[in-house]
Assembly symmetry: C2
Homo-oligomer: 557 residues x 2
C-alpha cells in the first residue's frame, strides 16, 4: 500500500478490526498494534464524520462502485464495525472522502435502506438499525435435538467474530419469537452502541495490574506439580481463600473442604441438577419473575421448573409449600430481576421448609453489591445442612474468568466432587491460584469497594434518567446489585409490550432485557436495565433513547 | 519463636509445608517465602539426615515425648511431607538432633512400624511404606449414587491438602480392589517420591516466562468486552490459532468456526456422550487395552462401553464391525496404552466404517510427540464428516490449563456448542487469549521442540533401565508419546499380578499404572510407565525399584 492509497483511507475510530486491517491514517490517535484498544463506540452525538471505514475506492471494480460500497457497508455492519445505532456520514461527506459522485453513495445507502439495515432519522442522520441475524439459523436444527422440552440449540454468541453470514434484518424476531431459546446469548452476541443488559459489572475496572502482579507471583512460586492435574474439587489455596471470603463477606463459616470450585454459577446449577435428578428430584421451583438463564439451565438438565411468585417480600414461601417441589432455586439477597430482599419472616419460613427436607439452592449472584447497608447474611450461614450455596466472581470481577464456588450439604459433597470431576476434571489451576492471592491479599475487597462506589454512582444516574425520560415507569428493589427493574403499570402498561419496546430500543442502538423474558406467568411489562458496565453518559443517553422508543411505539401513543 | 527455639528445629529439605510453618534454620538453602519452591523429594540415596522436620521438643508435653514424636511423624506422612519411599533419619541421629534419648525415637519408630506406616529395610534404613488412605472413604457412599453401573464417587485427589485423616495403611487396596472407580485420581493424589504415572508431560519445562509475557500482552490489549461473557464456542482468537496449529501439526484443514474450545479431552468426551445419547447411541466401542479414565468418562455419562481388541496393527476394525456399536473411541496416532500406530489398512477400513455411518471419536492425545518421524496425519484430516476430533494442551503444555478443542461433523456443531454452553458458558477467556498468542507466535511450537528433545532423552533412559532392571519385560509401541507399556509374558507373566507389582512399587515410593487397570478382558500383566515428567536419575532409580519389587514378589520368586 503506498502513501497515496493511504491518503484515501480513513479509519473508523477505535475499531479493532480496522486496526488489524490497515495502519491508521492521519486521523491522529494512532492505536498501537497490541496496545490497549477501547472498543467502545464513538461518543454520543458525535457522528462518524469523515474518519469512517478503511475504504479504498481503488479496490472497487470499474463501473461497480455502488455495489462495492454497499457491500463494504454490509460487511461492516455484519462484523460489528458499524454497530446498531451508529450514524453513517452524510452522503455528501462520504462522497468527498472517497472521491466518488454523491449518487454512488446515496444509491448504496438506498440499497441498505431497502434491505432494512439502515434508516434515515431526519436530523438524526442515517443510522444502522439492524445487524445480521445471529449465526445459528433456526433452519438448521441440530440432528440431536432431544425430547422433554429441553431448550434446543441457542444461537451461539459470536463476539466480534468476523465470519459474516446472510444478513437478515429481522433481529427484532429475537424479541417477538414465542420461544426464548438462546435469546440472551443472541442479544449478548450482537454489537450495539449502548449496552444496558443486566448482569455484568464494570468491566473497564478489571484490575489488570493487580491480576498480572498476582500471576507473576503465582508463576514464580508454582511447583511443577501445580502444572499437572489439579484436584477436581479445586486448588486448596483457592478453597481456603473462598472460605475466608465467605466468612468476611457473607457470614458463612465453612471449612475449605466444603468448598467446591466450579466454572461459575451456570456450571453449579448444571452439577446440582445432576445430583438432584440422581436423588429422584425432577421438579425444581423457581422464582417468577426469575432469571431466564438459570431456568433454561435447569431445563436443559432435564428438570421441570415450577413457578413460585415473588412479591415485595421476596419468594412466596407459602406458594412454594403448596407447589410440592422438593427443591427451589432462589436469590434471597437481591432477587433477580425484581431486586427485592427476602424479608425476615419469609427467611425463617424458607429455612423451616428446608429443615423439613426441602433443598434450597441459594444463588448469591451479586450479594456483595449493596449500597445502603451491609448485605443480609446468606441463608447458607444459618442452615448448612439444607442449603446449597452458589457464588462466583462474575459480578465481583469478570464473567470471563468462569470461576465460582458451590457449597452443598455434607451428604452431597462427594457426589458433587465426582460430578465436577467428570464434567472437566476441575477448573484450570493458574487462575485459581491467582484469584486466591487476590482474595488473601485483600486486593479483591479493595476492588469491590472501588467498583461499588462506581456502580452506586451509575445507579443514581440511571434512576435520575428513568425519572426524566420514562415518567410512567416504576422502579423496584433495594439499593443493591448491578441492575434496575422498571415496570409500566396501569394504563401505560396495558398498551405496551415490553418485547416491542426492547426491539425498538435495539433499533436505536440500546440493548436491554424485556421483563417478560424473565416471567413464567404474565404480568405488567417492564425492562431489566443494567447500569454497572456503562459510563454515565451512556446510561443517560440509553435511557433517553428508550424513552424515545417508548413514545414512538404505536401501541403506547 | 526465639533464636534458641530455632536452633533446635530442622527443616525438611525443599518442603513447602515446612516453609510456611516456620522459617528455615541454618540448613543453608533458604527458600524464599513466595519464591520458587521445588517440591520434589530429596535426591535418591540421600537420607533425610539431620535436616529433618520442623520438630521442636519444647512442644512435647512432659513425659509424653514418644507419643508426641510418633504423632508428628504420622502427620508428616499424612500430609505428604514424608512421602512414601522417603527414608527416616537413623534413630541415633534424630535423638541427637532433638536432644532426647534414643529410646524415645526407637519407640516412636516402633509404633509407626506396627501401624504399617514405616518399615526397616536393612541397610536401606527406615523407610515410609504407606501413606493414609485417600480421603473419600468407601464407608460414606454418596446419597445420590445412581443406577446403571455408573462409576460412583471416586476418592477426591487431594493435592498436598493438609487436612489429615485417619491413617489407614492399606492403600495397597487401591490396586487389589476389584472395582476401579477413582483409582487413577486416588493414585494421583498420593505424594510419592518417584512418579512414573503415564500421561503427564515435563511439567518443570512449563514456559513460565513466555506465558507471563503473553498474559501481559493480552491484558494490555484486552477490551472491556473481553472480560465479559465470552462466546460459548471459544474465543475467536483461539479458534483461529487452533485451526492454524491443526493445519501445521496434524494435517487438518479446518475453519476456525468448526473448532469448539473445551476444558480438555475429558470434557470433550462428556459433551460428545451427551450428543450421542441424544442421537440414540448408548453403546460406544473402546480399545482394549485402552484408557481407563476415558472409559470411565463415557460410563459416567451413561454409556455402555464395548471392548474391541488392539494388536500390533492397532484397533481391530473387523471386530469393531462385528460388535455392532455405532461409535468408537480410538487413539490412532499412538494408541493408549500400547503405543502402537494404527496401520494403513486399518485406517482405510476404519474410515470406510465411518463413511458407512459409524462415528469415530479420535482422541489425539499425544500425537505431537513422535520422535523418529513426523506423526501420521489425524483421521479427521481425511473424513471431517465422520470423525469427531479431540485434542488438548495437556500433553503439550500442562494439564493444569484445562484447555482443549473438539471438532465434530458439521451436523453436530450447533448441538455441541449448546451442550458446551450449558456445561459452563464456555472456557475462561484470558487463558484462551494467552494460548492463542503462544500458538500464533510460534512459541508453542518452540516449546514442543524443546520438550520433545527432553522427552526423547528420558525415553531412552527408561528403555535402558528396563533392559537392565526388568530383564523379563517386553516393551511395546512406537517411538512416540509420554509413556512406555511393558508386559511380562510367558512364564514370568503367569506368576505376576501387575496390581501386586504396582502396590509393591508404591510401597517403595514409585508410582506406576498396572496394565490391568486399562484392560477390559484379561491379558498378560504389565505396567504403563510415564517418563516425561521425571528427571533421568528418577527414571533410572524408579525402574530399579520396580525391578526390586518384582523380585521380592512371592509369586515371582
Amino acid at each position: 500500500m503506498d502513501a497515496m492509497d493511504r491518503s484515501r483511507r480513513a479509519p473508523i475510530a477505535g475499531s479493532k478490526t480496522a486496526a488489524t486491517e490497515a495502519p491508521l491514517s492521519s486521523a491522529g490517535t494512532a492505536s498501537e498494534a497490541g496496545g490497549a484498544v477501547d472498543d467502545r463506540p464513538s461518543r454520543p452525538g458525535a457522528s462518524l464524520g469523515s474518519d469512517f471505514l478503511q475504504l479504498d475506492i481503488a479496490d472497487a471494480p470499474p463501473g461497480g462502485r455502488t455495489a462495492w460500497l454497499a457491500d463494504r457497508l454490509r460487511s461492516a455492519i455484519a462484523d460489528g464495525r458499524l454497530p446498531v445505532g451508529s450514524r453513517l456520514p452524510a452522503s455528501r461527506v462520504l462522497a468527498e472522502e472517497l472521491r466518488v459522485t454523491r449518487g454512488v453513495v446515496t444509491e448504496a445507502y438506498r440499497r441498505l435502506s431497502e434491505a432494512g439495515q439502515i434508516a434515515g432519522r431526519g436530523r438524526g442522520g442515517t443510522v444502522v438499525v439492524a445487524a445480521p441475524a445471529p449465526p445459528a439459523s433456526p433452519s438448521a436444527p441440530p440432528a440431536t435435538s432431544s425430547a422433554s422440552g429441553r431448550p434446543s440449540s441457542p444461537p451461539a454468541a459470536e463476539h466480534r467474530a468476523s465470519n459474516s453470514r446472510t444478513p437478515a434484518p429481522v433481529f427484532a424476531a429475537l424479541f417477538t419469537s414465542p420461544h426464548r431459546d438462546g435469546v440472551v446469548d443472541a442479544l449478548r452476541g450482537l454489537s450495539c452502541r449502548i449496552d444496558l443488559s443486566p448482569g455484568v459489572p464494570d468491566l473497564a475496572a478489571f484490575p489488570r495490574t493487580a491480576w498480572l502482579r498476582a500471576e507473576r507471583a503465582v508463576l514464580a512460586a508454582a511447583t511443577p506439580a501445580d502444572f499437572g492435574y489439579g484436584s477436581p474439587q479445586g486448588a486448596p489455596a483457592l478453597r481456603g481463600a473462598v472460605a475466608g471470603w465467605l466468612a468476611r463477606n457473607r457470614g458463612i463459616r465453612a471449612d475449605p473442604d466444603e468448598v467446591v470450585v466450579v466454572a461459575g454459577v451456570a456450571q453449579a446449577l448444571g452439577l446440582l441438577g445432576q445430583l438432584l435428578r440422581a436423588d429422584g428430584v425432577d421438579r425444581v421451583a423457581v422464582e417468577d419473575p426469575g432469571s431466564l438463564g438459570a431456568r433454561q439451565q435447569l431445563e436443559y438438565g432435564g428438570h421441570t421448573t415450577v413457578p413460585v411468585p415473588v412479591d415485595t417480600g421476596g419468594l412466596d414461601v407459602g406458594a412454594l409449600r403448596d407447589c410440592g417441589a422438593r427443591a427451589v432455586l432462589t436469590t434471597p439477597a437481591h432477587q433477580f430481576p425484581t431486586g427485592v430482599v427476602l424479608d425476615g419472616d419469609r427467611r425463617r419460613d424458607l429455612l423451616r421448609w428446608a429443615a423439613e427436607g426441602g433443598v434450597v439452592i441459594e444463588d448469591d449472584y451479586d450479594a456483595e453489591h449493596r449500597y445502603d447497608r451491609p448485605p443480609v447474611p446468606a441463608l447458607r450461614s444459618l442452615l448448612p445442612d439444607g442449603v446449597c450455596y452458589a457464588g462466583s466472581v462474575s459480578k465481583l470481577l469478570a464473567p470471563a474468568l468462569r470461576v465460582g464456588w458451590l457449597l452443598v450439604p455434607p451428604h452431597l459433597r462427594d457426589a458433587l466432587v465426582t460430578a465436577k470431576r467428570y464434567a472437566d476434571l476441575g477448573n484450570g489451576v493458574l487462575p485459581q491460584l491467582v484469584l486466591a492471592r487476590l482474595m488473601d491479599s485483600g486486593e479483591l475487597e479493595r476492588h469491590l469497594r472501588h467498583v461499588r462506589r462506581r456502580h452506586r454512582g451509575r445507579r443514581d444516574v440511571m434512576l435520575r434518567a428513568v425519572e426524566a425520560h420514562l415518567p410512567g415507569a416504576r422502579v423496584h428493589g433495594a439499593a443493591a446489585g448491578l441492575h434496575l427493574m422498571v415496570t409500566f403499570d396501569g394504563e401505560l402498561g396495558s398498551h405496551v409490550r415490553d418485547t416491542e419496546l426492547a426491539a425498538a430500543a435495539l433499533a436505536r442502538g440500546v440493548k436491554a432485557h424485556p421483563l417478560s423474558w424473565h416471567r413464567l406467568t404474565p404480568g405488567p411489562p417492564g425492562l431489566v436495565l443494567g447500569y454497572a458496565a456503562g459510563a454515565a453518559h451512556e446510561i443517560e443517553e440509553g435511557i433517553a433513547l428508550i424513552g424515545e422508543a417508548l413514545r414512538a411505539l404505536p401501541t403506547a401513543a
